[in-house]
Amino acid sequence: MKRLSRSFISKILVPFSAAMFLTFNAFGGVFEGGDAAKGESLFKANCASCHKTSEEVLAAPGLKDVDVRWKGKDALIVKWIQNPQAAAASGDPYIKGLRDKYVPTFGWMAGQAVSEADIKDILAYVKTAADAAAPAGGAAVNKCMTLEEIKAEKEKNEESDGTVWFIIIGSILAIIAVAAANISKSLKNAINEREGLPPVAELSYWQSSKAWMWANRKFVSVIGLFLFCYFSVVGYKSLMDIGVYDGYTPDQPVWFSHAIHNCQNEIDCNYCHSSAVKSKHAGIPSVNVCMNCHKGIKKGAITGTSEIQKIYDAIGFDPTTGSYIQGYEQKPIVWNKVNNLPDHVYFNHSTHVSVGKIDCKNCHGPQNMYTVGHVPTADEINSQEDLVGLVKLEKRPFTMGWCLECHNKKEVDLAGSAYYQQMHERYKASEVGQRTLREIMEDGSATVRELGGWECGKCHY
């Protein structure tokens, strides 16, 4: 990622009109009094894919000190966010500067469907986030993989597997051993011949090894027993691995890095996997979603340039002219599916993400620390100590036991929804219901299991 110095950010002070000042004083201005908490979710949903709260330029200028730069131009910044082209038409010199600087590279920002109150909240968040980030000295950034680490992982990925060499060396050694045994036998025969003894009986390998085993039967039995146990255990374990894919990291047509997008650039999971909140599928983003940013970001730090070119090839975009190629035959990107449930399992993302408010990382692990998609292991998931509401599970990820374990542990937020409130009323209204309710609430909480989350028909139909 190309880092730009902040030198270009000129603080242009412009006189402001008294009328504008008065209008916004009535509200206290857009730069004051917003709700940073609300602003955070709005920012992540609408802005984070292009803007950072620091000075860094992602696909648009960093927003640090935006209040200083736009001081007094409250109405204009609202207009600028809601309809950039219209705001530019106002002829404001600062906007003109911005336009000249960024539009040729990144294109126009799309008008955002946010109200003035929303903007107030967002700006409040930008201010707090920028302030918070400053003293920490980029601690959040440090938690991400560094570019070197990412690079190393890519190289590691490209290295070939060592197992094959073990097999080759092993077979060469076996051949040598057999040959040595033959030589030893020939030599022994030669000695016997010279000493007038009868030659060593012409035994097959099998017969000779049987004789050897008989001669060392105690040793062979112990070793044999050990090997039997060993292979039974290994065999059992490998059979139990069938259909379990933790640690699975398939090659992908595009060497996409979650570490860069999600961790370093703080793009929310739902920005790309947007259907997770409303559908059973989280979805793989379509290329037009990539183009929201990559229309502007054409270079990457490691292999970005060649990898980003693959998106352009798919959708038909010419990075040199910065425009789409007319009449281009678009080619979809064929990804390898990472998290793959069998067809007889019905899993609904929205039930877990929107209703259960489960963090993506609880099932997908610290995906922000990976490059291409990866099925996490239980350890990887459980090691995210700082994850709020993390349900630690022992079973291996994406097995049924793992699902059931979570359904057994996870509590349902009963108060938060009219649906559960109604259910609660129904339980209270009947005798059977009250009894059941007492059983459920014995430990003071209702888990998914207690509300039916262990029933076959909830996931299999």
């Binding site: 409303k278 979805g283 990107i333 064929v334 390898n336 009947s430 076959c456 299999h460 139909y461």
Partner: protein
């Protein structure tokens, strides 16, 4: 008091023959004994040695193990540019319209990731509540049929559209006589395109419209257009052989209207008299059904007219009592009654029209002012066109939306005429009977791929919108007309222009209004009937008249008064010729006019009356068959007798099917079968498939399903006549196997399955609590304890079934959700729309005729049809003794009469699916706990757990569990019938429901996927699950609201209200398994004495 009746599902069960007794004891037919199997000589040829067996076994085991270790790499391909409205995994619904020349319906099309997968009625904006029938909701399969034409063709070879256009334009320019033959065109824009075409070739074009099944006599009686009917306003309904609930005019709409007044809870209940020869779906639902000969239809109408107008009429044999009763009821409800007739005889229709006028029904139940635009075809015009073609004077023939080489009564003559036409072109989607004979095939888009506008009746225009991009290189027929008129517009633009002030008012000029109309699928705008007529086609002389200007909206005009002289009509019907044998040609509810021959789902949907799948047959009265020595026991064997029926000199040989209620000495033959007699490419499922799964052949041609009865239809006074008295019938050599679905689900003498009563009894006990009404008493069991404390233990010591229970209670009542259904037997008409809706929703496999013969049909829901006859012979004898008929026969004669109740039985249709018992017997016997109870009252089935012991099916008292015998998706046996085996048809599968594999048990899941989705939606939106938010496919498809689904724990829900009503009961309540499905007692609008 309740009615004690004996219910029987087949004649043999009634007569208790040996065969029936055997069938009762074995659920499945004993196909072959072990002895037979071992003695089979062919067995030795398939010799496998022990060592070979072990080798294969070992290899197989190793291979399977190795294969399982391989990690499959699954590809995932997202859109490049995702359409904004599509979210993967979330269905979109689009309003659209179905019209195929025979059926009409307003739809909502469910699409997933851009593929239409399910069709339901447009309940908000549709005609009469948007009811659909099975033909329409199964029509989604037609879209994906792999046999569809992939592009334009000339003489069997591919051609591109440009060459086709230039060649055709040359042919048109050189032509003197251009003829268009189509079904009734009800699309204003299509009509405009045809008009533009006529104007371009002014003086040469003539447009002939004919309907596959004609209603020309009805239209004639009303001055050219069929009026609209409203059955919901009729207190007395008399139908003379009109199957208005199954196939007549707009059955989907009529079904909804009719059912509104068939619920006894309403202010009043309509009384329905039916006079007919075949037992039709409508007849089976009537209160008073009288079997008549087809030739008596006119006489019945005349007698009714005479009785109503105070004239005198000669009696009608065997129907006088019913006529008197019907006439009295009609007179009493003048202005709120309705008489309809299915006959295509203008005299009969004229009398019926006059009768309705005399009854003051015009303007209430009959609306002549908003006539239908449907069915304006002319049989005479078509016959004239065929003559013209044969004279060799037609240069270009354009065939649009019809298939005359199959469905025209004189198809041979049409075909010979077609050979004399210089250039012919057909827009049909398949290389069917007609298009394969035409010079060019120019396939139109499927209706789910098309924009269109339809004006089914005056004052209403519906829109169809595409729900998928065209799958093949097809083109709008309308665009073809435009191209040949040198107009380069796309049909969409052309259609929008139509509604910009051309034919309709300019209300849709604004994009906003237009979008609303597309969203709703309809808009109220008067398209004048006159505008719907090709100008030249009305010219009787055949000389060309100039095309009417397209722009001027034509003022609506009221249809002319009936032109028939009633006296002449009365005279004509009185001299109607009767014959020893008479025949009726009818449409089957599942097949209609034959447009869906390639639809495997419809072929396998059982006929509502005979329960036969995959076939047509001759329906006969059982007594006639016995007289002729024909086999009346239609079990699952090669035993149906073949008969040859000769009508007007043309013969057809079909199996004979005994149908109770069929008038003696009459026959019924279904139209719409025998498609593809020339081995045309009309779809794999349109041909008979044998045991091995390959098509059966005769010579080099594949065998058709059933025979084509259209050639037996004759022209009578310029109207196609669907009855005939010129009939002979003779037994033919050989037998034939017919696949029926009901033989293996006998009622086993458990009469508590069905409860019914009469209206007077119902009303008298209306206020009773559930379980207290005499016709619906709560079930108690005699117990060995002194319950009534009278000191002795005797039969009076009875306890409620609930108290004598084996099972532990599942805490579902009053707790959380309790999903359930109520099924009103009074409103269930047996149409079968629920069956096909269930099929497409739940990926129910189609298994083919051979498997149905083995009772391995996979229907998750079926509709049991029971006939009933009387137990209480003495009382009935008294009743009979009071009738003229019985008096003549004497008491003994009356008793003897009662031994043949099948002459006119009463019918009940009962939808049957998994009852989701709270104390389910299937759950306790499952050794692997694959079927278990949910805390929401559902009986869940986990397929991946099931090991196929089938204990559950054995233990199910309702016999609703279906064992998956084969891998229907890959097994070659089903390659011709199962949609999942076709590369394109597979796209119709619902991605939310597992496609089950071999060796598991399956059954109704109460659309678990919809329940889960509905709950998630409620939770996501932070709301409760509102009543009606979740609908099962069957409840949604039911045009009569006989099936209502909902949460029984939600006291305010419609379902809970119905479940607590005085009429509701559980089927087989005495077993004590507490189902979550309630049935509601059928109430008949008859006198207690008639019961």
């Amino acid at each position: 008091m309740g009615i004690t009746k004996k219910y029987w599902s087949s004649l043999d069960e009634l007569q208790n023959t040996a065969a029936a007794q055997e069938a009762l004891t074995s659920e499945f037919k004993r196909d072959q004994s072990v002895q037979d199997f071992l003695n089979d000589e062919n067995l030795n040829e398939s010799n496998t040695g022990r060592r070979d067996f072990l080798k294969f076994m070992g290899f197989g085991l190793a291979a399977a193990t190795l294969a399982a270790c391989e990690t499959p790499v699954v590809k995932s391909i997202p859109y490049v540019v995702k359409p904004e409205e599509i979210t993967p995994g979330v269905a979109n619904y689009y309003a659209s319209t179905y019209y195929d020349g025979n059926d009409y319906g307003n739809l909502l099309v469910k699409t997933r990731e851009g593929r239409p997968i399910h069709i339901k009625g447009n309940k908000v904006h549709g005609i009469a509540g948007g009811g659909l029938n099975s033909r329409i909701n199964a029509s989604v399969l037609g879209l994906y049929d792999g046999a569809r034409l992939k592009g334009p063709k000339k003489g069997g070879a591919d051609i591109d559209w440009n060459s086709l256009d230039s060649e055709l334009k040359a042919a048109l320019a050189a032509a003197n006589n251009i003829r268009i033959v189509s079904n009734t065109v009800i699309s204003p824009s299509t009509q405009r395109a045809i008009n533009e075409f006529s104007a371009k070739y002014a003086g040469k074009v003539k447009h002939t419209q004919y309907d596959t099944v004609s209603y020309s006599a009805l239209a004639k009686a009303y001055g050219g257009s069929v009026p609209t009917y409203d059955f919901s306003k009729a207190k007395t309904i008399v139908s003379i052989a009109a199957d208005f609930l199954g196939t007549w005019l707009m059955p989907a709409a009529f079904t909804s209207q009719y059912a509104q007044t068939r619920k006894p809870e309403g202010e009043w209940m309509s009384k329905h008299y039916q006079f007919e020869s075949n037992m039709s779906l409508t007849g089976s639902n009537s209160d008073v059904r009288t079997a008549i000969k087809p030739s008596q239809q006119g006489a019945i109408a005349a007698a009714l007219y005479a009785a109503v107008t105070g004239g005198s009429a000669s009696g009608v044999e065997g129907a006088d009592a019913a006529i008197a009763s019907a006439a009295a009821a009609l007179k009493a409800n003048a202005g709120a009654s309705l008489v309809v007739a299915g006959s295509n005889d203008p005299n009969v229709q004229a009398i019926v029209a006059a009768l309705n006028t005399a009854l003051n029904n015009d303007g209430t139940t009959i609306d002549k002012k908003s006539p239908l635009n449907l069915f304006r075809g002319s049989d005479e015009g078509m016959a004239a066109l065929v003559d013209e073609m044969n004279s060799g004077s037609v240069d270009v023939l354009i065939v649009y939306g019809v298939n005359p080489s199959y469905s025209w009564m004189n198809a041979d003559k049409f075909n010979s005429g077609l050979q004399k036409v210089k250039t012919s072109i057909c827009f049909n989607l398949f290389a069917d009977e007609t298009s394969s004979r035409c010079t060019y095939m120019a396939p139109d888009h499927h209706y789910l791929e098309s924009w269109n506008d339809y004006s089914p009746m005056k004052g209403r225009t519906d829109l169809a919108q595409p729900t998928i991009n065209p799958l093949y290189n097809s083109r709008y027929a309308q665009e073809s007309f435009l191209r040949w008129s040198d107009n380069a517009d796309s049909y969409y633009d052309y259609m929008r222009a139509t509604h910009n002030g051309g034919y309709t008012a300019a209300m849709l000029k604004s994009d906003n209004n237009w979008n609303t109309a597309v969203h709703n699928g309809t808009f109220a705008a008067a398209v004048a009937v006159a505008a719907m007529v090709t100008p030249v086609a009305t010219d009787a002389t055949g000389a060309a008249a100039p095309a009417a200007p397209a722009a001027a909206p034509v003022a609506a005009e009221a249809p002319a008064a009936p032109s028939m002289n009633i006296g002449e009509a009365m005279a004509a019907v009185s001299s109607a010729k009767s014959g020893e044998w008479e025949v009726t040609f009818y449409q089957k509810v599942t097949m209609g006019a034959g447009n869906h021959a390639n639809n495997a789902m419809l072929q396998e949907t059982p006929d509502p009356i005979t329960k036969v799948t995959w076939d047509n047959y001759v329906t006969m009265a059982p007594a006639d068959m016995t007289e002729m020595g024909l086999e009346t026991y239609i079990g699952q064997c090669d035993c149906a007798s073949l008969v040859t029926v000769t009508v007007n000199g043309k013969s057809i040989t079909l199996p004979a099917m005994p149908v109770p209620g069929q008038k003696r000495k009459t026959l019924g033959i279904a139209l719409g079968y025998g498609r593809g007699a020339g081995n045309e490419e009309i779809g794999k499922a349109a041909y008979q498939t044998g045991r091995a799964g390959v098509h059966l052949t005769e010579g080099d041609k594949r065998q058709t399903i059933g025979g084509n009865a259209y050639p037996l239809v004759a022209m009578n006074g310029g109207h196609a006549s669907y009855t005939s008295s010129d009939v002979t019938v003779a037994a033919a050599a050989g037998t034939y196997s017919i696949a029926t679905t009901q033989m293996h689900a006998t009622v086993m003498g458990r009469d508590s399955v069905i409860k019914e009563t009469v209206i007077a009894t119902y009303l008298a006990e209306k206020g009773a609590k559930r379980g207290e009404a005499s016709y619906n008493l709560a079930v108690t069991l005699p117990v060995h304890a002194d319950v009534n404390k009278d000191g002795t233990i005797d039969v009076n010591d009875r306890q409620s079934v609930r108290d004598a229970d084996l099972w532990r209670d599942h805490p579902v009542e009053g707790v959380g959700h309790r999903w359930g259904m109520t099924i009103d037997l009074s409103s269930c008409l047996g149409c079968g729309a629920c069956i096909t809706a269930c099929h497409t929703e739940n990926n129910v496999p189609v298994v083919g005729k051979d498997e149905v013969l083995r009772h391995r049909d996979m229907h998750w829901m079926r509709i049991d049809r029971y006939f009933s006859s009387e137990h209480q012979t003495i009382q009935i004898a008294d009743t009979l003794a009071n009738t003229k008929e019985a008096t003549e026969k004497g008491t003994i004669g009356a008793y003897r009469e009662m031994e043949n109740p099948e002459e006119n039985p009463r019918t009940v249709h009962m939808p049957m699916m998994c009852q989701h018992c709270n104390h389910a017997p299937c759950e306790t016997v499952c050794p692997v706990a694959a079927t278990v109870h949910s805390n929401e009252g559902l009986n869940n089935m986990a397929y991946n757990r099931c090991i196929g012991t089938r204990y559950c099916a054995n233990n199910c008292p309702y016999k609703v569990r279906r064992f998956n015998w084969f891998n229907y998706v890959t097994n070659d046996k089903f390659a011709m019938v199962n949609p999942a085996q076709d590369d394109t048809l597979r796209m119709v599968l619902n991605p939310d429901v597992t496609v089950r594999t071999r060796g598991v048990m399956e059954k109704c899941s109460m659309c678990q996927q919809r329940i889960q989705a509905g709950k998630t939606e409620a939770k996501r939106n932070g709301t409760t699950v509102l009543d009606g938010m979740i609908q099962t496919a069957c409840a949604e498809a039911c045009p009569t609201q006989a099936i209502v689904f909902g949460d029984l724990n939600d006291a305010t829900s419609k379902n809970a209200e119905r479940a607590n009503s005085v009429r509701s009961y559980h089927a087989l309540e005495e077993v004590g398994i507490q189902p979550n499905i309630y049935y509601m007692t059928k109430v008949r609008n008859i006198e207690a004495t008639e019961a």
